[in-house]
């Protein structure tokens, strides 16, 4: 009890937060997490289909007690329209990553084979490296990184998870 700091055994939760697109909203949410000792594993923000609204997807490690408190605290923020816990309902989650891999001559064929198997795309090529675009769930991206690691990964940019519930969710009112 009274332990807001997520411990290592906490499971990852995916929260989908619909917010009013007003200045400072992201700061209110990020500030809530840091101020109360909640963790953010990944954060993804972009406009939603409704002008004036944005959707934020946050992955946070939390046990049952902690996630209840996180959701309540988020709902308490005035600019938050709706908070959904996508770990509790059917949902799809995807992440995109751009991976810059060292492409020595002896590795190029192998890299392209992996790209093919994982259905990725090579989006940039230079003398020394390939930049590869991959989309999928976190497991797929982790697996891909594992395969590329021996060849030398120079840089990675990951978007963090974006997720939506599978049901046709109502967008007005609080959940």
């Amino acid at each position: 009890m009274n332990n807001f700091i997520a411990d290592a055994s906490s499971k990852q939760r995916v929260l989908s937060i619909l917010v009013e697109d007003k200045p400072g909203v992201l700061s209110r949410i990020a500030g809530l997490f840091s101020g109360r000792g909640f963790n953010i594993d990944s954060l993804c923000v972009a406009a939603s289909n409704d002008p004036g609204e944005s959707r934020i997807t946050i992955v946070t490690p939390a046990d049952h007690h902690l996630i209840e408190q996180i959701k309540k605290q988020l709902r308490k923020l005035i600019n938050v329209i709706k908070v959904q816990d996508l770990s509790e309902i059917p949902a799809v989650a995807r992440e995109m990553a751009l991976i810059k891999v060292q492409a020595k001559a002896e590795h190029r064929a192998e890299i392209l084979r992996i790209v093919d198997i994982f259905r990725c795309k090579v989006v940039d090529v230079s003398a020394g490296h390939y930049t590869i675009e991959v989309t999928g769930n976190q497991g797929k991206i982790e697996a891909l990184l594992e395969l590329f690691r021996p060849m030398g990964i120079k840089e990675i940019a990951r978007t963090g998870i974006a997720a939506l519930s599978r049901e046709a969710a109502k967008t007005n009112g609080r959940h």
């Binding site: 009890m1 009274n2 009013e20 200045p23 400072g24 700061s27 209110r28 500030g31 809530l32 101020g35 007690h65 209840e68 408190q69 309540k72 605290q73 709902r75 308490k76 005035i78 600019n79 938050v80 329209i81 007005n172 609080r174």
Partner: protein, 553 residues
């Protein structure tokens, strides 16, 4: 200005500055009273106490930069104590924002975690609606401070005034007021079946105006009531069912009863660590029914058997209504042993002190209680003075005790007394202070004198930062590091220098005379009581211990 008048604002606490000159210029043309403070922190505490003792929203108006940052402590205190205030800060013109302009600070950023909500107004046309929304947010749901930042070009700009509707609806904010009826009947069943029930009431009962409903419920069912520091006055302190305050400096009977209770009806409380002590042991025999308007309070710190989200008043009214059709005599009968047990605890360990040659601080508070017939509005600073005030002044009415409970702001009491006096000119208002705390906002004595707000300050002067010294005595081998006030001003002369009255008592037999003279005075008064230097506040639960593990002497 029209919006402020339309919100029923009659008093503003403030301090002018470059970017708000125009607002003050307009303010002069209205009937709104402006109380010019000496430091912006004082203005916020005044508005806080004004709000608590008047039932209105407190209003503050200050300038940008340092004017704004000086309000932060006051805002944070109001936030933790859930007090409805609206703070207007000036801001540099919009085209200079982000430019490190003179007296520019991102006050919206700074106060984001300690306001219920805040606004940077970008256009004059938005102003009326934002003001309406700010007052609505401040007073509704769980009340709290709201800050409105006004860039100079926005405040001097003109726009066609169109009054927003009085009742506003916000899509993203809709606090749950009405409790779930099923939960109410379950609560009544539990209370009637309980053998050792208790009610645990907090500041939420007071801010919801539910004290009478609580008192009715407790008296009908003969359930003893303990309160938090913030809940003092929500149930009459002199009632035989009153257990007094709970927690670190709670009464023996309140803390013992908490450990033994089988049902705890917790209303408008948040289970603060100063209340629960070691949280795993808190009320661990009890099924806890928790009523609060803020869902985040529920199950934040303790497991709850029955959560009720709703307004405390609506909930208690609902419970009282349900009792109408219930047979309660036998239930009350089964509780006799429990009440007897509580009576035994009460007699075993009363709050006590021994008055010998040197004035005891508790004696001063007890005499103050007697001489004001328990009717004064009491504000406090923070520390031992606050705890002795809470223990020895019995509060029978809500909003009679005004203290910085959550944030614990030293320097709160004097400005709070001034704010309470501004709202209640006919009431006696006393700040119970320590010699350390009083010096944190002593400049507001000038405000009291200038605006003819004759507050009384009782300094329990022990020449120490007494509460920290007490911890050092008990847990740090009496190493009084930096808690000795080796030098202090002559408080009598200081009062006189401000145009107030200064009085002093150094012997127990002078206490009554000084209090009587001070209370009779028509000007602001400082009464300096030289008290026993190393007196401690008891009972005391050491940090991290169960609340039944009290040090009693």
């Amino acid at each position: 200005m029209k919006m402020l008048e339309s919100e029923g604002v009659d008093t503003i606490f403030g301090y002018p500055g470059g970017v708000v000159i125009d607002i003050f210029d307009e303010l002069e043309k209205t009937d709104i009273r402006h109380i010019l403070v000496r430091h912006e922190q004082g203005a916020v505490h005044m508005a806080d106490a004004y709000a608590r003792t008047s039932g209105k929203v407190g209003v503050v108006l200050v300038t940008s930069g340092p004017g704004a940052t000086n309000t932060v402590t006051g805002i944070a205190s109001a936030y933790l104590d859930s007090v409805p205030i609206v703070v207007f800060t000036g801001q540099v013109p919009t085209h200079l924002i982000g430019n490190d302009a003179f007296q520019e600070v991102d006050i919206v950023g700074i106060t984001r975690p300690c306001t219920k909500h805040n606004y940077l107004v970008k256009s004059t046309g938005d102003l009326a609606y934002i003001i309406r929304e700010a007052f609505y947010l401040a007073r509704s749901g769980r009340p709290g401070p709201v800050l409105v930042d006004l860039p100079k070009d926005v405040s001097i700009g003109t726009a066609t005034f169109k009054e927003p509707p009085r009742e506003i609806k916000m899509r993203t904010y809709n606090p749950t007021i009405d409790p779930n009826p099923k939960m109410l009947s379950k609560t009544i069943d539990a209370l009637l079946e309980a053998k050792r029930p208790m009610i645990f009431a907090g500041g939420g009962v007071i801010s919801a105006g539910a004290s009478e409903d609580l008192t009715t419920l407790a008296r009908r069912l003969k359930i003893p009531v303990t309160t938090t520091l913030m809940g003092l006055g929500s149930f009459p302190g002199s009632d035989s069912l009153s257990l007094g305050m709970i927690g670190m400096h709670g009464t023996y009977r309140a803390n013992m009863a908490t450990a033994d209770a089988d049902i705890m009806l917790a209303v408008g409380v948040r289970f603060d660590d100063r209340v629960t002590g070691k949280v795993e042991t808190f009320a661990n025999q009890a099924k806890i029914i928790h009523v609060d308007i803020d869902p985040t309070s529920i199950r934040k710190n303790v497991p709850v058997w029955l959560p009720i989200v709703g307004d405390c008043k609506k909930t208690l009214e609902g419970l009282n209504a349900l009792l109408e059709n219930r047979e309660i005599v036998s239930s009350v009968e089964t509780r006799k042993p429990w009440l007897k047990q509580i009576e035994d605890w009460k007699n075993a360990k009363r709050l006590a002190y021994e008055q010998k040659d040197i004035i005891k601080p508790q004696y001063v508070v007890e005499r103050l209680y007697a001489l004001t017939k328990g009717q004064a509005i009491i504000s406090t600073e923070v520390g031992q003075n606050q705890m002795w005030a809470a223990q020895y002044y019995l509060f029978d009415r809500p909003n009679q005790f005004v203290t910085s409970g959550g944030l614990g702001v030293m320097g709160y009491g004097l400005p709070a007394a001034i704010g309470a006096k501004a709202a209640n000119p006919d009431r006696i208002v006393v700040d119970i202070a320590g010699d350390g705390s009083i010096q944190m906002n002593i400049q507001e004595l000038a405000t009291a004198v200038q605006h003819n707000l004759p507050v009384k300050v009782v300094i329990l002067n022990n020449g120490y930062l007494g509460m920290v010294r007490q911890w050092q005595q008990l847990f740090y081998g009496k190493r009084y590091c930096q808690t000795t006030m080796d030098f202090q001003p002559d408080f009598v002369k200081l009062a006189e220098a401000y145009g107030a009255v200064g009085l002093r008592a150094t012997r127990p037999d002078e206490v009554d005379a000084v209090l009587e003279a001070g209370l009779a005075e028509t000007k602001p008064v400082i009464m300096d009581f030289k008290v026993e230097r190393e007196e401690c506040v008891y009972p005391m639960v050491p940090a991290g211990k169960a609340i039944t593990e009290m040090l009693l002497t």
